[in-house]
């Protein structure tokens, strides 16, 4: 069992002033991991093996083993290959990647360079949500510094490996965080997710092999190279190891991003880390990993910790580890309507069940919110979630359906109480 989370020292965003300055970063051991993998001691294959062994599970929400994903790239054939870094970060409740952009951009850059080397990519793009105007600037200046030092560009550190690295701003669409939609957007097209297969490793950007990783995922890579896979695997929960940037928002006294090992008990995060529920209110519920993950009632949280197994057993998911804390005064119908509004607003509109389903969900919820709903509407809502889930091109429809299903099921009384007495009640 890993050490107590309370004794953990941050490694993704360590407490070092001005770490975004490349000289400070280098002075603190920065870019050593890159030098290491470019030396003769390492091969592209051994980098992939090490990262795979560390089991860095994707921090973008799906939790896929990063090294395993890299190993899906086909053998180089001389043509271009891409790494696309996903900094679109638009899921409500999620605001962790921007901390890396701001406080430790070089860790992410170094991780991306190692990843690009391991997969022999010729170009790296970092796609950053358009609203992060300042953070895009920060990334640009960090990239410039790294170019100047020769960590990016032609023949990096004399190794013969060359790569270019660009930022690319989004234009305000959540759907462009979905990996294949992001590829379309990078190509200058409308952000429509692609049908899979073919998968990006086969046909990604401009039809060439491409891997997509989240920013935080990539930031873990230099740590693994420097300290070894075993060190990494010993941090936090076994099934989902490593440090996690927990984004805690909602009704807590100290909202923010906290770096701790995975597997911290949910209640500890709320009470100890984030200073407890605001104004001394009682905890009503928690959305553990971004707005698409099923809400958990306070009474479902005993012994539940922030790792994928524990959360799955409790009936939810780790997602992006962005917790939304909900106090006793919160109107769950209001909350759910607001979430449904988001997914309705953000559906790209390609697939029928999502395009029309998300709107229908929102409209029924609005009706219920306004006291005009009937109990049969709740069952209709549940029916619609089944009609949407698993029948679309990307997971946005699922992300829209889950909160509706689980919030209604877990707070059914509250919803029913808001409904009109059905005129058809008793014949």
């Amino acid at each position: 069992m890993a050490a107590d989370w309370r004794s953990f020292k941050p490694v993704l965003i360590p407490d070092i002033p001005n770490l975004d300055d490349i000289d400070v970063y280098i002075k603190n051991g920065g870019y050593e991991a890159l030098k290491k993998v470019l030396s003769d001691d390492w091969t592209t294959k051994s980098v992939i093996e090490e990262v795979k062994a560390a089991n860095i599970r994707g921090r973008g929400g799906a939790g896929f083993n990063a090294g395993l994903k890299w190993s899906f790239m086909p053998e180089p054939d001389g043509g271009p290959r891409y790494l696309a870094c996903n900094g679109d970060e638009s899921e409500p409740g999620t605001f962790k990647d921007r901390m890396l952009f701001e406080y430790n951009p070089h860790l992410f850059i170094e991780g991306s360079l190692i990843a690009a080397y391991a997969m022999q990519c010729s170009t790296i793009y970092v796609y950053i949500r358009g609203e992060y105007i300042d953070w895009i600037k920060m990334m640009d200046s960090a990239l410039n510094q790294a170019y100047e030092k020769g960590f990016i560009g032609e023949n990096i550190l004399g190794s013969g490996f060359s790569v270019n690295f660009y930022t690319h701003p989004g234009a305000g669409a959540y759907i462009c965080g979905e990996e294949t939609s992001m590829l379309e957007s990078l190509e200058g097209k409308r952000g429509y997710p692609r049908v899979k297969p073919p998968f990006p490793a086969q046909k990604g950007l401009w039809g060439r092999p491409t891997t997509i990783n989240n920013i935080e995922t990539l930031a873990n890579v230099p740590l693994v190279i420097n300290n070894g896979a075993d060190w990494f695997k010993n941090i936090g929960a076994e099934n989902h190891p490593g440090p996690i940037l927990y984004g805690i928002s909602g009704h807590v006294n100290q909202p923010g991003v906290y770096e701790l090992p995975s597997g911290v008990p949910v209640l500890d995060l709320i009470d100890e880390v984030a200073g407890g529920v605001k104004n001394g209110k009682k905890l009503k519920a928690v959305i553990p990993g971004g707005s698409s993950t099923p809400v958990l009632r306070a009474d479902q949280l005993d012994g539940v910790s922030m790792d994928s197994n524990s959360l799955r057993e409790a009936g939810s998911m780790l997602g992006t580890a962005g917790l939304v804390v909900i106090d006793e005064d919160t109107d769950m119908i209001d909350l759910l309507w607001r979430i449904a509004h988001f997914y309705h607003h953000e559906s790209c509109g390609q697939c029928t069940p999502c395009r029309d389903g998300t709107g229908w969900l929102e409209k029924i919820l609005l009706k219920i919110k306004n006291g005009e709903g009937e109990v049969k509407d709740l069952d209709l809502l549940l029916d619609l979630t089944t009609q949407m889930e698993g029948r679309t091109i990307c997971a946005l429809a699922d992300a829209a359906a889950w909160p509706v299903r689980h919030t209604i099921n877990r707070f059914r009384d509250e919803f029913e109480a808001r409904c009109k007495k059905s005129v058809h009640a008793i014949a």
Binding site: A173, I175, R190, Y192, V195, H344, H345, E346, S347, C348, G349, Q350, C351, T352, P353, C354, R355, D356, G357, T358, G359, W360, K363, I364, L366, K367, L380, Q387, G390, R391, T392, I393
Partner: protein, 580 residues
Amino acid sequence: MPEVFIDGKSYEFEGQPKLLQFIMDEGLELPFFCYHPSMSIPANCRQCMVKVGQPVKDRDTGEYELDENGERVIRWFPKLQTACNFDVTDGLVVKTQESDELVERAQKDNLEFILINHPLDCPICDQAGECPLQIQTYKYGPEGSRFEVKKVHKPKRVQLGPRVILDAERCINCTRCTRFADEISKSYQLTITKRGDKNYPTTAPGETFDDPYSLNTVDLCPVGALTSADFRFRARVWEMNQTPSIDVSNGKGCNIDIWTRDNQVLRITPRHNPHVNDYWMPDVGREIYPLFNDNRISRPSVILDGENQIKSSWNNAIETFGEQMEAIKPEEILAIGSAHASVEENYLFAKFGNLLGISTPLFTPHIEPGSGDGFLITDDQAPNTNGVRLLGFEETDSKQLKTAVKSSNAKMILLLSDHLIDRGVLSADDLSGKYLVMFATNESETTKKADLLFPITCVVEHAASYVNVDGRIQRSFPAKETKYTNRRLDLEMTEGRLDRYGTKFDNWVTDENKVDCLPVWDLMALIGGRLGLDITYEGGSREVIKEVSQNMPAFSGVTYERMDDELGIELDTEHQTVKS
């Protein structure tokens, strides 16, 4: 051969078909909207859901694993899959709506979603009667709706371009129209705008959808979201007769359908022919339909006292022609054929002259260099240039033709269906002092000059063949009646839904709009009779083409049956022809 199991039945397959296409090729059915065999597969409508599973193979032996009953163990995909983009593989097991309740339910659910924001204004929608959404809703959709909230409202009556109008509320976002503009016509003029249920197709701001192929999107659109500015609100599909034919607006010979009602052509749509035009046709080919209705020459005309053209009876016109012919030597007659007329017409025209000792007809191709686009619009403005060439007509340029016409040897000119003055080959003066006999379909500056004018049937009134720029011979069918034909008696003619299900006394049956004209083969029989020649063809053009195929090596083996079965026949255009 590899096999796939669909609803419990085994089918063999070759190559790497996609499941939906394979299902359709086998004559089975799945509902779908966005898939189109000639465009990329977006799998966005999510209508073609099926359940699929792969047989489990033993890792070591490679043999199929069997259960206790000796049946193959199937590993089902955890989610339903869209058939349109699903690769058929050996041993695949497929369950469609025919054998699986979940699939049936999923298809119903999907239609429910499509319909919630659809205006359901079928009674005033042009697409009704040929609407995939309507048809598939009846077959696979839910009964009634559970949708009790407000529909999304979107722009209506949007003039996307000169020929196409959008009703965004009817749009089901299948992206067929945008894919067409990106992948087929490559004008890149359309895109989807907004997001989610506010989506609809549009042009970039300030741009107009004037793609020369824009009307194909109206055919492609599976609902009434895109309608033709010209055709909308003109007719119900079930009121019209649909007849296969060939586009005569240029040299490509796009395969088309002619839609008629009350003996008027109301619209033209493309007909699939993978060898010629696939599923498409240029807008100009559709826009020519008024030619078949308006400005038609009906009844013969003669010029009296060298001045006024007046209508004449057929008897009088034929008698006049006979008298003129008797008064003149064959060497003094110049015959001019036409790339705008069919093989059969030109052949008979030449044969008639030949029997009388008139020399082989000349013709001047109607080619405008630079007007083609390398796709379906050709430089050649006529449908049958190669046909006339293969008949051995003497090809002249405008100058040579002018010289021949003006030569003092030519006292009489027999002109088949070529409006030479209108297209600037001849001037009115060039014809002065000549006796002009013209066989034509439409009034023009040229026909005004005819001393004797015989109205003949046009492409939509007869069966006749045309050889396109690539040397492919294809034929038309009679689509509208003339004064002398009757849909119910003419076996070459199609019957519409009303012909089949209506009665003679229903008020949509009309004798109006029938042109008083004759096919060249019938006319030649009459004229020939007057001149003592036997040029009769009991079997009409079908018999003419038989004779052409026997006499002209380039056309050997050509029959209507073969053209119908093979969607036209590629001719050996290099073949030296024997002059008739």
